[in-house]
């Protein structure tokens, strides 16, 4: 297990390097200059571009790029927050997104799991239909429509909640202003977890070991929670991966509608503003988050389901 973990960590670093290289290539190949909106004389433009070695051949630029990163120098933002080190820009935006998404995940996981179990236990009965309908409703309306409707009705028409997210942390108004965005964020994950768990459980409930469990006197509920759940958690991990990733990467749509200054729209903005160093940093950050979650989930496969021998070849 330890050997495997170390192997995977090395692989992770290698993957990161590949990503870094692709990011570099892709961004340098994009049309557009750092100095987009200025009518500069040709000589000045040359001088300014030389500052970022944009006049050198690609391979030389790549060498500078790798050298700088090896030294821990990721550069400063060019357009989004001028002259601020790129990681600082990211740090300043992450906490809000993290808070909102964590809260919404804390809400949605238990609700989703509970609803999934209920739906599976009462398969094709009224409870199941009610839950399935709600689930389908939550996943069927795009989040920007849902968020706009929530905002329009509950905040604008009835005035129960603030229209936008409050910018001054702490106090009741602040937490109050988080309810709508968190709700809008949680609906999708709740629905996804419920739906997936229901499906998995229904499959497991009808298997032999569940019959055995029932035979030894467990109730359906006990059997489901103690035996079936364990089997269903493995595929559920597949569903939870993207959720963990979105915790750190934020939600573009919700943050836009509720005016939350999070990390959600940063990538698109920096891409559009030709803020190359920031774009690279965000890409690397996103990759790191998703790679780490995948790693954690993979490693936990063996813990959740002992039948899985991680990394085993076909003959093992």
């Amino acid at each position: 297990m330890i050997k495997y973990t170390v192997q995977r960590l090395f692989a992770l670093l290698l993957t990161l390097w590949v990503i870094l290289t692709i990011a570099f290539l892709v961004i340098r190949l994009m049309p557009g200059s750092i100095y987009e909106d200025t009518d500069l004389p040709p000589r000045l433009l040359e001088t300014m571009e030389a500052r970022y070695q944009l006049n050198e051949p690609m391979i030389v630029q790549y060498w500078y790029f790798v050298q700088n990163i090896a030294r821990g120098d990721w550069g400063t933002s060019i357009a989004i927050r001028v002259s601020v080190p790129v990681w600082e820009v990211l740090y300043s935006r992450i906490p809000v997104s993290l808070l909102l998404n964590l809260l919404s995940l804390f809400i949605s996981l238990p609700i989703g799991i509970l609803a999934g179990i209920l739906a599976a236990l009462f398969q094709n009965r009224r409870t199941d239909h009610a839950i399935s309908f709600a689930v389908v409703l939550f996943v069927s309306v795009p989040s920007f429509v849902f968020a706009t409707l929530l905002q329009y009705t509950l905040a604008f028409r009835f005035g129960w909640f603030p229209i936008v997210y409050s910018t001054s942390p702490g106090g009741t108004p602040y937490w109050w202003s988080m309810i709508l965005p968190i709700t809008a964020l949680a609906l999708g994950p709740i629905a996804r977890v419920t739906r997936y768990l229901r499906g998995e459980l229904i499959e497991t409930i009808s298997s032999d070991f569940m019959l055995l469990a029932r035979t030894k006197g467990l109730t359906v509920f006990q059997a489901t929670v103690r035996h079936a759940m364990r089997n269903s958690l493995l595929p559920l991990a597949n569903i939870i991966i993207p959720m963990f990733t979105s915790i750190l990467t934020g939600s573009l749509v919700i943050e836009r509608i509720f005016a939350i200054g999070g990390v959600g729209g940063l990538l698109v903005n920096s891409l559009n503003a030709n803020d190359h160093p920031l774009t690279v940093a965000i890409l690397v950050f996103y990759s790191l988050v998703s790679l780490l979650t995948i790693l954690v989930v993979d490693l936990s496969y063996g813990l959740i389901d002992p039948r899985v021998r991680v990394g085993g070849s076909k003959n093992e």
């Binding site: 009518d39 500069l40 004389p41 000045l44 001088t47 509608i257 939350i260 200054g261």
Partner: protein, 590 residues
């Protein structure tokens, strides 16, 4: 159809009238009229002002360093907090405007007859927001730093990029000469002497020094923020890394979501600032802003096309004419589609464009010209360039829409090229709804005018990429077929609208080459500054040459609309909002 032409014509007439009104009053000896009623708030503003003006912006603040800013929203905010030599303010009685000598002691003084050497004396009683005196050295430092050849700021071109061109400014930035050779000299404790390449008027110089890029930075913090090789400074990257010197000072800056300025009690004209502060909330979603406005939580909202249709007759509506003409650049270098090189084909597109309908589907005004209506020809009497007989004479009738002529030109060009049908691609800004609506309209309209022989496919492109694509022509002749663009210019100098098409300008949005045009432009730049009539004729001639060559098809001029809440009382007749200068002089009546 008739209905629409009439309506657009009305909008056009309104905006022109509006333009003439404010500028006409500005220098026409206005001020006799009574000042607006001010009883509700008191006769003079208090030390800290009263009432917070609540605005929204689309994008987060990028910096507080005036040497680095690029975005309009950022410029609006920096204009509140940085001190300048001169500043635009509402004219006496709220009519027209005047230029205040803010940190300068008096208007510039000419030294020679040509208008190329000027002296400006700075005030000796002005203070930074932290209470320290503002000195001439502070200005000298700020100007030297903006042009610094190692820092290479975004605004490094400040002393070279307009008609006001300081001797050796460009050469200093690119590292050819030393600072001593630059035409900015401090001749005593408080007087600067500027040596310029081109002649300018007093007004042009004051207008120039009201720019953000030549405003103040606080030297101790600018210096303290330098890195080891002095290639970058963290000045203005946070609230405590800068010091304000304008009418307001920075109070807070929450990353990505909100920033606020409060009244600066040390400001020279603090007795003219009524507001306690200005709050900017970052909200990208226009629907959200509209809801906040309707619930009275923000004081101003820019109206989308749909919202404008809804509030069309609301008395609170404010017109904001945009300062650029939206036009379709034709790639006349294209080797894939050589017909684009044919002037008849380009003219066919020009005459096939129904600008009245284009304007009505996008809530804009039709434009068959290149220099927008906002340009002032004569700053002494406020004459707008577009209202002069010379500028009117070059315009084609019926807003340049003549389908028969268009077909004739089209047929001739197509016959010579041996083409039966033609497909072209029109690139437009992704996310700009008005532009997409006009593009979709023109796609169908052109197809109808040319009897189905011209197929246009539309392509949405992120705006930075669109600009880049139009600029790619020196390296790639086929980067685009047709593409939208629009450029803003200095309102008080129509010549600035011409610079963009001059072949000596580096980063032009799209190819355009004409020796005739270039020589006209060079002539007008070098002309004696007081020969207004001569300049006017040459500018009109240059515009005519451009229109005739039809390397781009002007379609509309933006016309924004806004709603301001009842609690805001403007200290001027509306021009200031149009030019985005006016907020700071407003009052809040709760």
């Amino acid at each position: 159809m008739l209905l629409y032409i009439r309506k657009s014509a009305r909008i056009l007439a309104l905006s022109v009238l509006f333009g003439t009104l404010f500028l006409g009053h500005a220098w026409g000896g206005g001020g006799q009229e009574a000042a607006p009623a001010q009883a509700s708030v008191g006769d003079a503003p208090s030390e800290t002002g009263s009432g917070m003006l609540r605005l929204t912006v689309g994008r987060p603040l990028e910096t507080l360093n005036p040497h680095q800013q690029a975005a309009t929203d950022t410029a609006d905010f920096l204009n509140l907090i940085t001190g300048k030599l001169y500043r635009f303010a509402p004219g006496p009685g709220g009519v027209g405007f005047e230029i205040l000598s803010e940190l300068a002691a008096a208007p510039p003084v000419p030294v020679d007859d040509e208008g190329t050497v000027w002296r400006i004396t700075v005030r000796d009683d002005a203070l930074w927001a932290n209470g320290e005196p503002i000195t001439a050295e502070d200005f000298l430092y700020s100007w030297q730093m903006v042009m610094d050849p190692v820092l290479l700021n975004h605004r490094a071109n400040a002393f070279h990029g307009s008609q006001v061109q300081v001797v050796n400014a460009l050469e200093y930035v690119v590292g050819d000469v030393s600072w001593d050779d630059v035409g900015i000299d401090l001749i005593d404790d408080s007087t600067f002497e500027f040596t310029l390449i081109l002649p300018v008027t007093e007004f042009m110089l004051m207008n120039f020094f009201s720019n953000l890029s030549v405003s103040l930075v606080y030297p101790p913090l600018y210096e303290a923020g330098m890195n080891a090789d002095r290639s970058t400074t963290n000045y203005g990257t946070d609230v405590d890394r800068m010091v304000s010197s304008g009418p307001f000072m920075v109070d807070s800056w929450r990353q990505g979501s909100e920033y606020t300025a409060i009244k600066n009690p040390n400001y020279v004209f603090a007795d003219r600032i009524w507001l306690a502060g200005v709050n900017n909330r970052v909200i990208a979603e226009s629907g959200t802003v509209m809801q906040l406005f309707e619930r009275g939580e923000v004081d101003f909202v820019e109206l989308s096309d749909a919202d404008f249709q809804r509030f069309r007759e609301d008395p609170r509506i404010i017109e904001v004419p945009a300062r650029s003409v939206q036009r379709i650049v034709i790639n006349l270098l294209s080797t894939d589609k050589p017909i684009l090189q044919d002037v008849r084909f380009r003219q066919a597109l020009f005459f096939a464009t129904d600008r009245a309908t284009s304007a009505s589907v996008s809530s804009t005004i039709p434009a068959n010209y290149i220099i927008p209506t906002t340009h002032v020809m004569n700053v002494d009497d406020g004459t707008l360039y577009r209202n002069t007989p010379e500028a009117r004479a070059i315009l084609t009738p019926n807003l340049g829409y003549d389908p028969d002529l268009a077909r004739e030109l089209f047929d001739a060009a197509m016959a010579d090229a041996g083409l039966d049908t033609l497909s072209l691609q029109l690139a437009y800004h992704e996310g700009v709804e008005a532009r997409r609506a006009v593009s979709e309209y023109l796609q169908q309209h052109w197809n109808q005018v040319f009897g189905g022989r011209l197929q246009i496919s539309l392509q949405a492109v992120p705006s930075s990429q669109l600009a880049a694509r139009l600029r790619e022509y020196p390296n790639n002749n086929n980067a685009f077929d047709l593409g939208w663009t629009g450029t803003g210019h200095d309102d008080f100098n129509p010549v600035s609208a011409l610079a963009h098409y001059y072949s000596g300008t580096a980063r032009r949005k799209g190819p355009y080459f004409s020796d005739e045009y270039d020589s006209l432009y060079e002539t007008v730049l070098a002309m004696p500054i007081d020969d207004l009539q001569g300049r006017l004729e040459l500018i009109a001639e240059a515009e005519r040459v451009m229109l005739e060559d039809a390397s781009f098809v002007p379609v509309t001029q933006g016309l924004g609309f806004g709603l301001a809440s009842d609690r805001v009382e403007f200290m001027s007749d509306g021009w200031s909002i149009a030019l985005r200068y006016g907020w700071k002089w407003a009052r809040i009546v709760d």
